[in-house]
Amino acid sequence: MQPQKTEQFTVPIGPQHPALKEPSSFLISVDGEVVTNAIVRLGYAHRGIEKATESRTYVQNLYLLERICGICSHIHGTAFAMGVERLAGVEVPPRAQAIRLIIAELERIHSHMLWLGVGAHQGGFDALFMFSWRDRETVMDLLESISGNRVNYSANVLGGVKFDLTAAHIGDILKALDYLEERTHHYLKVVTTDASFLQRTRGIGTMTRHQAEVLGAIGPTARASGVLRDVRIEAPYGAYVDHPVTTITDDRGDLEARFAVRIKELFESYRLIREVLDDLPPGDIKTRVKRKIPEGEAAFRVEAPRGELFYFIKSDGTDIPSRVKVRTPTICNMTSVVKLAVGHQLADVPMILAGIDPCFSCNDRMVRVNRNNGSDGWTWEQLRQHGIEYYKQRSQDYDPLVVG
């Protein structure tokens, strides 16, 4: 008798919004409801940033690289600035280091809360999604009051930071932290006790410690599988040297562990910000960095909210870098999604994807294609003129504004 032939069916997920509101494409092969293979295709938000750095000065690049990601913009700027400062042999004042740390931890808080909402939404728990995003606004307001921007705060300059923390800022931050801490206790209780939510997270997408190491997982995803990988501890930089971090790990490796680890990391961020604010060093917030950077190569690693962010900068002695390589955390963890999805129900795939806290803008960053329905692309001047006309029609006149 012939064995029964099994039919394989391929479900394309994406490129529009496979889990969160960002583009990426997955080809999922299924046997019934069970996933048998998954292939990832990225690049839908690819903007050619690495190539673009090779035609801009270090100062311009600082702002460009910050725009790799809207969520973890500060950490990109920090990694680049600290790499360049290392090449230039510049010591950044302690107060600037402390302010960099505070902004980085505030960023981690809002990123983790954003993720908590997205994760909850994928699990069908929209009340948690809305509450966590409401509370995330507390941090966004803080960042706006400090820097003037909700995202892309541009806190860094080469050689320090752009703005100081006033007594009023410090008061606001401490007050906000008390509120957030109370809320975070509640969230931790919810994700570890809510029975219906646990059905979507407990034992789902489990990655063992060994798998995490072999697949090269990093950040909270690796820490939820018991792998202690945190650049803030392994290679402390800036103010983390004087203010050590306690890493939170969990050995279970499933989605529940990833929720627990990220929420517990919030408490660590609150503690760290309070500790640094308590002992904020006085003095300057920036030091001068020469326009031309001495010849050399620097590799700089920082801990972004999603894990290790790796920058490699090569200078040829001019004011324009010869090469900037950015390796973002999501790309490391993407391998784990593709492997972990196999054997799970198709319905669990979005949760597993959301579990690594993917950031596709981070993933995709290099090449820009001018494609405007077959016509030639726009020049910078045309784009600027379009912007001016656009706002003029909405009764805001930016024409007299001279840029450059």
Partner: protein, 171 residues
Amino acid sequence: MPTSMTTAEAITLATDVLVNWVWPVEAAPPAPDRLDVTLKEPKELIPMVTALRVQRLGYLSAITGLDLGPEDGRLEILYQFCVAAAVITIRVPIPREDATIQSLTDLIPGAEPYERELSEMFGVTVVGMRNPLRLYLPDDWPEGVYPLRKDFDPSVLHNHHKEQSDAAAED
């Protein structure tokens, strides 16, 4: 326990493994926490990475491509391994015109996306890749155009897309 290895221990061990290699290698410590080893032959890559894996020395943090330019005629592939604060780099110079390198995916499955990126951005043929599909570049990207090479000319894309849309208009 590899995770508790200090930076200094890692650099010492890496020096022991890589610098005192079977064949002589060029090595330089650009900073106290870095070790750069330049390979003479690309075929030494796999044995060297295997040696690092056997010692459980760090994890592959990034594969960086560098184009040294048409005059120099070489590409340089940097395999960066991290442990504690140490960054151990294996540098592999290969000719620009015949850019071929062995895949690491049998040793390090997580290297797959890095190699796919390297391959499409620098025009490096990675032998033994499990999934040689494009990762970032669009499906209609012209063949033989590698954007991160120094002599990449974006106007190629203008012409390519213009030809495509003209062809579509004729149909």
